[in-house]
């Protein structure tokens, strides 16, 4: 299990299997849902490698922007993890980043077991 990354010109997404953390940084505003497929694949790998009963961390603290296609991608991922009901999710947010204050708790409305910590 190695660290995997998806990079764009304005962003990076990294999965560290050691800490079971997916870290998002920059501004992610891709053109289509299809363009989000590599990012979704990275998230699915994080779940597959975490093991039953584990918690996977989604670290958004350095993510300045995410467009609605990106929010949809993350939301669909949360719904799929909810359906499997085998791995827990914890989202880390940043109080200084306005969209996170406003929208991050929507993930918890999709699945009440998602933990949200806004720092």
């Amino acid at each position: 299990m190695t660290i995997q990354m998806v990079n764009g010109e304005d962003f990076s997404v990294q999965h560290d299997p050691g800490t079971k953390t997916v870290t998002f940084a920059g501004s992610i505003r891709l053109q289509t849902m299809e363009a989000y497929a590599p990012l979704r694949k990275l998230l699915d790998t994080a779940i597959a490698e975490a093991g039953s009963g584990a918690t996977v961390f989604l670290d958004f603290r350095e993510l300045r922007f995410l467009n609605s296609s990106g929010i949809n991608t993350i939301s669909r991922f949360v719904i799929d993890v909810r359906k499997q009901n085998d791995v827990m999710l914890k989202a880390l947010g940043n109080q200084e980043i306005y969209w996170q204050q406003k929208s991050l708790t929507n993930l918890q409305k999709l699945w009440p077991k998602v933990l949200i910590e806004i720092q």
């Binding site: 010109e9 304005d10 501004s27 505003r29 053109q31 289509t32 849902m33 922007f65 467009n67 609605s68 296609s69 929010i71 949809n72 939301s75 669909r76 719904i79 799929d80 200084e96 980043i97 306005y98 969209w99 204050q101 406003k102 929208s103 929507n106 409305k109 999709l110």
Partner: protein
């Protein structure tokens, strides 16, 4: 004879006297060089947020919060122009007005005339329901079907930021209908 314009949602005929900015873009260039959408949105968000003084009462959005809201709303609207300018006319118009408690944006793109009826039906659904209920319903549908979740950008903006939208359809020639989308952004803080 020109057909009458069709209006849906919260529409205001804007007065010339309020401080006003304009820009003209090409939708095909935005689609081709996608990062220009983000760049344009961030530029106008930063430019317009400078209108807000540094020291404010608690009831009003501070400069950083307003910049963030504007960047989100403008990015979603300009993305739509880049994606859905199906009319022969590819021109995109951006216009903004600063009022005391509101900023109003009007973004115009052009669609094929036959796209007007399906789009107005889509908008009726969007404008006449509860945004929160619709948002979660459409996300679940999108997860179920694997399809793109249309309207989620508008619904997020309505639900999380209290933004009100208006839409005006104006036939410009036999092959293009202009859609003017108005977004009304309150500068009064709504504490979550």
């Amino acid at each position: 004879m020109a057909e009458a314009a069709q209006i849906l949602g919260d529409w205001n005929d804007m007065v010339e006297s309020a401080p006003n900015n304009r820009m003209v873009l090409d939708a095909s260039q935005l689609a081709k060089h996608w990062r220009r959408v983000s760049l344009t949105s961030d530029f106008w968000a930063y430019y317009l947020a400078l209108h807000v003084p540094g020291n404010l009462s608690r009831e009003r959005l501070n400069r950083e919060a307003l910049q963030s809201v504007l960047s989100y709303v403008l990015n979603e609207l300009i993305e739509n122009c880049a994606k859905f300018s199906t009319g022969v006319v590819k021109t995109v118009y951006f216009e903004s007005w600063n009022l005391d408690d509101f900023m109003v944006f009007q973004i115009t793109n052009h669609i094929r005339p036959e796209a007007q009826v399906p789009f107005t039906e889509f908008l009726h659904g969007l404008l006449n329901g509860d945004p929160t209920e619709l948002y979660f319903q459409r996300i679940e549908e999108s997860a179920e079907t694997g399809r793109g979740g249309s309207g989620l950008g508008y619904l997020t903006l309505m639900m999380d930021y209290g933004i009100r939208f208006g839409f005006r359809f104006r036939p410009v020639n036999e092959q293009s209908v202009a859609i003017d989308v108005q977004a009304h952004v309150s500068m009064i803080r709504k504490d979550s």
